[in-house]
């Protein structure tokens, strides 16, 4: 007992009386115990069970709860801001590239759809089926398009314009702008001659650049008039139609009444000399039309495809081939399938790299913070507490990277769309999901380092200091 300090330092702010301890302590140790009690206002009230009988632990909510876990993890993350930036960079790039890939693919798909709607989705063509020909024999049409085919299909719902097209066999004669036969000149190639009904131009979305298109009246009268495709007119040297220039097919002259362009669906008309159907029948014994071009309302494709052959020949509708636009959804699915393949490849690689980055840095951080881990263990942290802290840290880092990456990705998609005059299309669920995906990557990447941290023995960890 020698050397034990006997003096009890009594501080005025806390007296035994204040604490309700009115009985006088009889022994020094008794006093010491009371003093201890003063220091410990509420010693752990027993709650829950422990492995050791009688071992007291604080209420579960007081012992390193989720709130403490998150707070400690936040301090761990915030301790090294520079490293944090480098750590999340991989995830930011990974998530960002996923969002950009998906966003641009969706935007592009929407863009393809829009173009498709504008040209192809409103165009239907009907032609007679042919037999034979596959083995090199002569082909023969199974049926013929009636001359009044445009009037017949115009009665169908969804049909806006219709016109017949036929190619005209003009025999071994030249088409020239002047009736001069110059034997020394090389024989020029003649443009193709087509015959159409009066409203074909509207049906194929062509436009008149000079003069006018012929109408059904020209055909009925068999007038010798032609309209030139833009390139055919250039080739023949016809630039103006006010003076009613003529061209010669063989030795017969035809008056040029107009020049046309456009016609996205029948680009061959740009190089053609086009005459009325009636004129072709009278002058060149045109026997049949090749094709019926129909312009339809958007979305009417399936209906027109089904009804047009019946309207043309109720007895044998199966003898016609109809080319109608595919349904919107079919188109979109095709585009989406392509997009998904790209997305999986690119995003997968990027996320793998991001995850490895987090795992690497967290592992490094665990090794660096051995002293802290040892200290926490000495202060009563269980292995689970330590592992939890590191897992939460890497999940938060991943989540942070995911959020920043998704935000950057959205900005890139919007920026590119604005620059290209596209409509930005991005599924909001993709953006939010990618941010969460960052957290999942953090969880996966942080598991191994966290287990390493939990396995650290406090003795060895404490030896080195912090």
């Amino acid at each position: 007992m020698s050397g034990r300090p006997q003096a009890v330092v009594d501080r005025p702010d806390t007296t035994l009386d204040e604490l309700g301890l009115t009985d006088v302590p009889t022994t020094r140790r008794d006093l010491a115990g009371r003093r201890l009690r003063r220091l410990v206002p509420q010693r752990f009230r027993r709650r829950g069970t422990a492995g050791l009988p009688g071992l007291e632990r604080g209420a579960r909510r007081d012992r390193f709860s989720a709130r403490d876990l998150v707070a400690e993890a936040a301090h761990g993350i915030g301790a090294r801001p520079g490293r944090l930036v480098l750590t999340i960079l991989g995830t930011v790039l990974g998530i960002g590239s996923v969002v950009v890939t998906v966003g641009l693919a969706q935007t592009a798909a929407g863009q393809i759809g829009a173009q498709f709607d504008a040209v192809s989705a409103t165009q239907v063509s009907v032609a007679p089926k042919t037999s034979g020909g596959s083995m090199g024999g002569t082909t023969r049409a199974l049926t013929r398009l009636p001359w009044d085919a445009p009037e017949r299909v115009l009665r169908l719902n969804g049909v806006e314009e219709a016109g017949l097209v036929a190619s005209v066999a003009i025999g071994d004669v030249d088409i020239t702008a002047v009736p001069v036969n110059d034997p020394s000149a090389a024989r020029p190639t003649s443009p193709q001659v087509l015959a159409t009904s009066g409203h074909l131009l509207e049906a194929v979305r062509g436009e008149v650049t000079a003069g006018r298109y012929f109408d059904d009246g020209h055909g009925e009268r068999g007038d010798r008039v032609v309209v030139l495709g833009e390139r055919a007119a250039e080739k023949l040297g016809v630039t103006r139609v006010e003076s009613q220039p003529s061209i010669f097919i063989g030795e017969d002259s035809y008056t040029v009444i107009g020049i046309v362009s456009g016609m996205a669906r029948r680009a061959d008309m740009l190089d053609a000399v086009i005459m009325p159907m009636g004129t072709a029948r009278a002058d060149f014994d045109l026997a049949r039309a090749d094709e019926l071009q129909i312009r339809i309302a958007t979305g009417a494709g399936p209906l027109v495809k089904q009804q047009a052959p019946v309207a043309l020949d109720p007895n044998a509708p199966e003898n016609f081939t109809v080319k109608a636009p595919p349904n919107r959804s079919e188109l979109r699915q095709n585009v989406q399938a392509d997009v998904n393949a790209i997305f999986l490849a690119l995003g997968g690689v990027a996320l793998l790299v991001g995850g490895l980055g987090i795992a690497n840095v967290t592992l490094l951080s665990v090794m660096e913070r051995r002293g802290e881990i040892g200290l926490r263990r000495a202060l009563g942290a269980t292995r689970r507490d330590i592992a939890g802290q590191f897992v939460v840290e890497s999940v938060v880092i991943g989540l942070l990277g995911g959020l920043i990456g998704a935000a950057i990705g959205v900005f890139v998609v919007v920026g590119v769309s604005a620059a290209k005059d596209w409509t930005a299309i991005l599924d909001l669920r993709i953006a939010l999901g990618s941010a969460l995906l960052g957290g999942v990557i953090g969880l996966v990447a942080g598991t191994y380092p966290a287990l390493k941290a939990a396995a650290i023995e406090p003795i060895t960890a404490l030896r080195g200091g912090i």
């Binding site: 050397g3 140790r29 115990g33 009371r34 201890l36 492995g51 007081d62 709860s65 000495a378 009563g380």
Partner: protein, 246 residues
């Protein structure tokens, strides 16, 4: 108050639901024939018996390699004995689960290390609060108790400082505040003045005296004669054997 014979002490009574259990129903520390053998084999501790009563101030002295650190690790529940039993505050710990040992560490032992072990990026207050996280101190009391503990080591005016800006003596005082904030039964100090100059050492030893006077049980491991002279009771460890020094 002496090194006891194994099994001489009566078994503990049943636990009660009181806030404060009866004082000195059992020793804070009781080692019974405790040995610790490392692969080699090296006998770091050979059949050690030691009893530390509540309110004792014990210093453990000995040369390097004598088993001081091993004894500290065992006492701090950072290592398990090879044989024998260690009762901490009446609880057998040798075969206890890791979770129970962690709970005992957090709730009943306060550590003071030679190199302070303060988190450099956290404030003084945060460093002290760290000890309340794992020991079950009710959340509402944590900050109040941390402030009280820092007041007690006379650092109440430095709550928002980081350890890097403080002197060694101040840092060790923060470490002491952290060790006592969760109201442990036992304060274990491992060379607490090893990194301090004479003046700061004296300050820490004065602080230990104050804590002891308030009833705290202290075990200080040191090779500094001046430090061990402050303790009421001195134990020398030589080649794994413990001897009481009068």
């Amino acid at each position: 108050m002496t090194v006891t014979e194994a099994g001489a002490r009566p078994q503990d009574g049943p636990e009660t639901e009181e806030i404060v259990r009866p004082v000195a129903a059992h020793p804070v520390v009781e080692l019974r024939d405790l040995t610790r053998t490392f692969p080699g084999p090296v006998d770091a501790l050979r059949g050690v018996n030691l009893s530390v009563e509540s309110g004792d101030y014990v210093s453990i002295i000995g040369p390097s390699g004598s088993g001081k650190s091993t004894l500290l690790h065992i006492l701090g529940l950072l290592d398990r004995p090879t044989s024998g039993e260690y009762l901490l505050d009446g609880h057998p710990t040798g075969k206890a689960s890791e979770g129970d040992r962690a709970a005992l560490r957090g709730g009943r032992i306060g550590f003071v290390f030679q190199s302070f072990h303060l988190l450099p990026q956290r404030t003084v207050l945060d460093n002290v609060l760290l000890a309340t996280l794992y020991s079950g101190v009710p959340r509402a009391e944590r900050e109040e108790r941390a402030r009280a503990a820092l007041d007690r080591v006379h650092l109440g005016h430095r709550l928002s400082f980081t350890p890097a800006t403080m002197s060694g003596g101040e840092r060790q005082r923060v470490a002491v505040a952290r060790a006592v904030v969760a109201s442990p039964k036992l304060l274990l100090a491992d060379e607490p003045t090893g990194n301090l100059d004479t003046k700061n050492s004296a300050g820490i030893m004065d602080l230990f005296d104050e804590l002891h006077a308030d009833g705290l049980t202290l075990v200080v491991i040191t090779h500094d004669a001046a430090v061990s002279a402050r303790a009421g009771r001195r134990v020398r460890i030589t080649d794994g054997d413990l001897q009481e020094v009068s």
